[in-house]
Amino acid sequence: MKVLVAVKHVVDYNIKPRVKPDGSDVDIAGVKMGINPFDEIAVEEAIRLKERGVATEVIAVTIGKANSQDTLRHALAMGVDKAVLIQTDVEVQPLAVAKLLKSVIEREQPQLIILGKQAIDDDLGQTGQMLAALINAGQGTFASIIEVKAGEIEVTREIDGGTDVVALKLPAVVTTDLRLNEPRFIKLPNLMMAKKKPIETINAADLGLDINPRLKQLKAADPEPRKPGIKVANVAELVEKLRLAEVL
């Protein structure tokens, strides 16, 4: 079974983003970037499927500027077999990403496609479901367990107030939640070797798809700060304050 994982190059999760002085966007110039953490979980899951003999080949795909290669190198160092960069300088939004991924899926014919449940930059959480709809496949969102059975997969999903389990016909799309696995630590030699591996680059414009952004950002702003609070000395004072605030 061939597995395809989609990965996104995003601002590192430890970095607190800053808004540009003109309020037009977030300033990511010179900021540390890396693989979207949910996508790293997707890569890990695909590689584990290969190590168990379930997957035969794992392909990682990313979409974006040339520097997105760094995230593909990360996936290669983790152990994916093949890396594809669909290169574009256009800001790609989930619908465009889903269309571009669909074109690679039509060529590669994977049985399982794994993506992160959301990217930690735009926090939209749409791409996997959009892709599933475009290729008319079943989907298992927010996966915490994936079990491959004969001709189908069972996905345990983290939903509001608990979990559920769905069976999906193959090919299927799965989006990862935090507890699906813990991605492996990359050893330095693997990272060095990944630098030498080939990356296939496709020019997004050559695919003839409408990938123009549909959403236009008018403004980016810092949220209203909370008014400063106070320290209380003990439980009695805390209870007193809560009484005065009329929340007890």
Binding site: D160, L215, A220
Partner: protein
Amino acid sequence: MSILILAEHDGKHIKQSTRQAVTAASAWQLPVHLLVVGAQSGVIAQQAAEVTGVTKVLHADAAQFEHPLAEDVSALLTQLGRDYTVILSAHTAFSKSVLPRVAAVLDVAMVSDVISITAPATYVRPIYAGNVLSTVESSDAIQVVTIRATSFAVPANGNSAEVVTVAAPAASGLSRWIKEDKNVSDRPELSSARVVVSGGRSLGERFDELLEPLAHKFGGALGATRACVDAGFAPNDIQVGQTGTIVAPELYFAIGISGAMQHLAGMKDSKIIVAINHDADAPIFQHADYGLVANLFDVVPELTAALNN
């Protein structure tokens, strides 16, 4: 020129977040239709008709909707949605699974987790774990939107909208529901509780023993940090944060929580935040209205006892 809201329910009650979506829809000043899908769900359709602001209820009752699958619900919503200006829902696990499929098939963008609607196609939504608020404008003919329920008021009841039956397309067969495991609790739902008592990893094995009685005093819900959940001290579904549940209760207790960016993203819109931590330099204190620097193993039972009086 109408709005179609996908309703969510648990088989007995319509979710509060669906009601809040009705409030959000009022921004457009257009007729609001509520789509109820379910099996033997006449009661839910009636409840939907009573929500103030709803013009019409569309009721799709079919066996396959006993456990509605995203593939089937999205097929129905796509079919109906072509005639609407806005397709709307609350940003819940259910709608997050369904609405992107609808948007993709309609070839329109989707705007997720909206906290404010400032013009017919202009929205404010948090990005980067709520560290930045982004105002976006959508150019598509059909707007597909999920709203953050806690940012919108709960409307009153007292309406009696018309209920019409709509036919459901045949099940897709792409997926099959096997089972679900919902945590049965007499506590209110985390996302809509008036009071939330949350704990961090430092509570360890004593998480329940210390926090349950305090939550019980308020009839509140329990929450936890990701680290606490990962360590196995609290169940997955009570994780509060960027990638867990977003809450905005009247009163939020952060107990033994340092205040990581990803946790703050899930609770910083709470009306009053109380932080209890032994570390006076913990970032959580910068976000708390009332901070108490103390050993939580001493003061949490003391606080619980003090609330008795």
